[in-house]
Symmetry: C7
Subunit: 93 residues, 7 copies
Amino acid sequence: MIKPLGDRVVIKVSEGDMKTASGIVLPDTAKEKPQKGEVVAVGSGKVLDNGQKVAPEVKVGDKIIFSKYAGTDIKVDGTDYLIVRESDILAIA
Amino acid sequence: MIKPLGDRVVIKVSEGDMKTASGIVLPDTAKEKPQKGEVVAVGSGKVLDNGQKVAPEVKVGDKIIFSKYAGTDIKVDGTDYLIVRESDILAIA
Amino acid sequence: MIKPLGDRVVIKVSEGDMKTASGIVLPDTAKEKPQKGEVVAVGSGKVLDNGQKVAPEVKVGDKIIFSKYAGTDIKVDGTDYLIVRESDILAIA
Amino acid sequence: MIKPLGDRVVIKVSEGDMKTASGIVLPDTAKEKPQKGEVVAVGSGKVLDNGQKVAPEVKVGDKIIFSKYAGTDIKVDGTDYLIVRESDILAIA
Amino acid sequence: MIKPLGDRVVIKVSEGDMKTASGIVLPDTAKEKPQKGEVVAVGSGKVLDNGQKVAPEVKVGDKIIFSKYAGTDIKVDGTDYLIVRESDILAIA
Amino acid sequence: MIKPLGDRVVIKVSEGDMKTASGIVLPDTAKEKPQKGEVVAVGSGKVLDNGQKVAPEVKVGDKIIFSKYAGTDIKVDGTDYLIVRESDILAIA
Amino acid sequence: MIKPLGDRVVIKVSEGDMKTASGIVLPDTAKEKPQKGEVVAVGSGKVLDNGQKVAPEVKVGDKIIFSKYAGTDIKVDGTDYLIVRESDILAIA
């Protein structure tokens, strides 16, 4: 898998509902609705102004909810992925 | 329940009036009116520029007032929730 | 009374003139005119980038002048209040 | 006199020329012209990101030049004043 | 090769698909699609507010994905290159 | 002379060419052209976020080049001056 | 030569191609194309928020590539120069 830089995260977007330990998580149909997916790669973290690197809160395999309009689409070996910043991830489901 | 990231908070929005220890709290009908709700999940807190993590002021079960236009709608097991940043929460009622 | 978060302050807005130790304080009728009120609740203070919490300069009972367009209206037990950030408060009268 | 908060300063605006130790200081008639006045109250100073409070450079009684469009008008016991931030004050005359 | 300053990186843009250890990486055809390339020169790194210099995560020879609209075109000895900031690089392929 | 605050500098604007140790310095006639002048008063310096005050690089008597659209016009004892921030000064001629 | 302030650099713009150790460096003809030049004077460096001064990466005599729309034109003894911030310099050729 590709290796995202800094605080970036690679996500495999989920099309349908997402069954997780929290139950069935379904983004609302409101126009600002979030999306669901699974983390497939995580960057080494954001560098703070004091030079300290902050480890990401998410890890590979986490089911997540993220902002709908975030990120950049990419295709690897025919599969679609999305690269977002960790700050675009709202919650772990 | 889903686990919000960083300084995010998951809220169950209240439809009617909200009776609290402060009395009956009713958002005004002005166009910039806030909303009421109850905290159902809290992130681990915001990371400051010096790497320090700030614990949220709110906790699960708090009745709160928050900015009307804040946050992202989400549905878990058929129930509607809202994910906001803690800075969008105005007060504990 | 509700408990404002961070650097927020709850104000009871004054309708008429405001007699204080400073004399009769009357906002000018210019279009950018400030408003008068009394502090009824104060948050725990703003968290700085170094993690330090700054105690608010105002306290409950202070008569204050604040920016006209600041804040969010709220009603508690039938009484109108305004929630503002302390930086929107210009002076103690 | 009212007590300004933070880095705010209360000014009594001067209408005509201003004779000072520097000579007769007269704002130019250009469209971005500054204004003259006298400091009548000074806040406790601006709080920096490291929590340090910076004492204002101006003191009560100083004749000053300030940005024309700065500040908020206020009336105390029938006299007009202006509340500005110290950063809106250009020079001591 | 020219020496980029600060956190800048010189890239040789790839025209077709890019075979890497991650597989065949193909930017999606969406309108915000990223681009592929190979790093040919790396600056000494970004200087933080505390004076510390952050070493770049990418090195010469890395196959990378970067934001489509980033950077400045340049031609050296007849070959086209692109100068971008490291923050415009999304991932190492 | 008036005393500028913070990182401000008072300049006497030069109308014609300016002969200096560097030779005859003449701002170009391009539309974003700079202006020439002589420093007549200097503030105590800018206060950084850590509370440290940075001594200005310019001193009274320096011939300088500054941004054309910078600053505020002022007249003292019938003479025109300009108050600018030191960051608006490009070079010492 | 004039002495630029802070992180500013004085450049003699090159009109034609630029032969350097890197080869013939020719800015592309794209509309956002950079420009070439030679450094003729360097400021003492940028002051960081912690009061530390960062020495410039470029020195007098360096052949450089810089952003096309950066800087201010100036004429000294009949010769045209450009004053830019070091952050507008992309690379040393």
